[in-house]
């Protein structure tokens, strides 16, 4: 595929990002830089000082809703794309409404329970969606432990599959951003493969 063709396909593509913390904010920035034409971004939370060690936000964003702060960052990178922001909590009841029509959904939530809920509900309720999920990227250790694997028919999972916030409160930017990079890269791969 030639560069111009890739640019054209990406500019017409749509990706939803669920959760705008360490994974989601960095995934969104990478997809915006790559020229993805339409991003739907969802998070209920506001930026706190403790987020700045790994999330895409700055000191001046503290106290702002993450969705709104990220919108400003993305408009500063690629204002030609369409960004839709939702400041709300994702529940089984709003999954269909939020993710229907999006061929690629990046799961970037924090708790294991919410990750499982989102992946299950999207795969059940949105038959056209492929999910790219993050699973295991906290702590420290080899970057090469973080991989992308297809685990189910419409589910790709990125991470080391084991290091969770249940075991450690050490969360460092590089491993989080490596995992976010895997997710953004798989999202682009899916778009270019026509999924």
């Amino acid at each position: 595929m030639k560069k111009e063709e890739i640019k054209e396909i990406l500019s017409k593509s749509k990706v939803a990002v669920a959760g705008l913390g360490g994974l989601g904010s960095n995934i969104a920035v990478m997809l915006a830089r790559s020229g993805v034409g339409h991003l739907r971004l969802i998070d209920f939370d506001v930026v706190e000082e403790s987020n700045l060690n790994r999330q895409a936000y700055s000191l001046s964003d503290i106290g702002k809703p993450k969705a709104g702060a990220l919108l400003e960052i993305l408009n500063g990178i690629n204002p030609k794309a369409e960004y839709e922001i939702f400041q709300l909590k994702i529940t089984p009841d709003n999954v269909e409404e939020l993710f229907r029509g999006f061929p690629v959904v990046c799961e970037a939530l924090d708790s294991a329970q919410e990750k499982a809920m989102l992946v299950r509900e999207v795969l059940l309720k949105c038959p056209g969606a492929t999910v790219v999920s993050g699973n295991g990227m906290v702590g420290f250790g080899a970057a090469n432990e973080i991989v992308t694997e297809q685990k189910m028919k419409r589910l790709y999972v990125c991470g080391d599959f084991k290091t969770g916030i249940e075991d450690t409160d050490v969360i460092l930017a590089p491993r989080v951003m490596i995992c976010a990079g895997h997710q953004a890269n798989k999202a682009i791969e899916l778009i270019l493969e026509g999924k």
Partner: protein, 64 residues
């Protein structure tokens, strides 16, 4: 034989919930696919595993 995460197991006849409990899964953290179809959480109890079923269980850890 039943294939669970790529391994052959003697699980035919058990309920899906029984298998998941025996394997030590925490039900709130997992997604289950049976014969390439996602299983709703409410169905774990009622699904009886059949011979030649292929089951994939993904367990999540927190962080994101």
């Amino acid at each position: 034989m039943v294939i669970v995460n790529g391994e052959a197991k003697d699980a035919a006849g058990k309920s899906l919930k029984q298998l998941l409990d025996e394997e030590g899964y925490e039900l709130s953290r997992i997604v289950v696919e049976r014969n390439l179809e996602i299983v709703p959480k409410e169905s774990y109890d009622t699904i009886i595993i059949e011979d030649n079923d292929s089951i994939e269980v993904l367990s999540f850890v927190g962080g994101g």
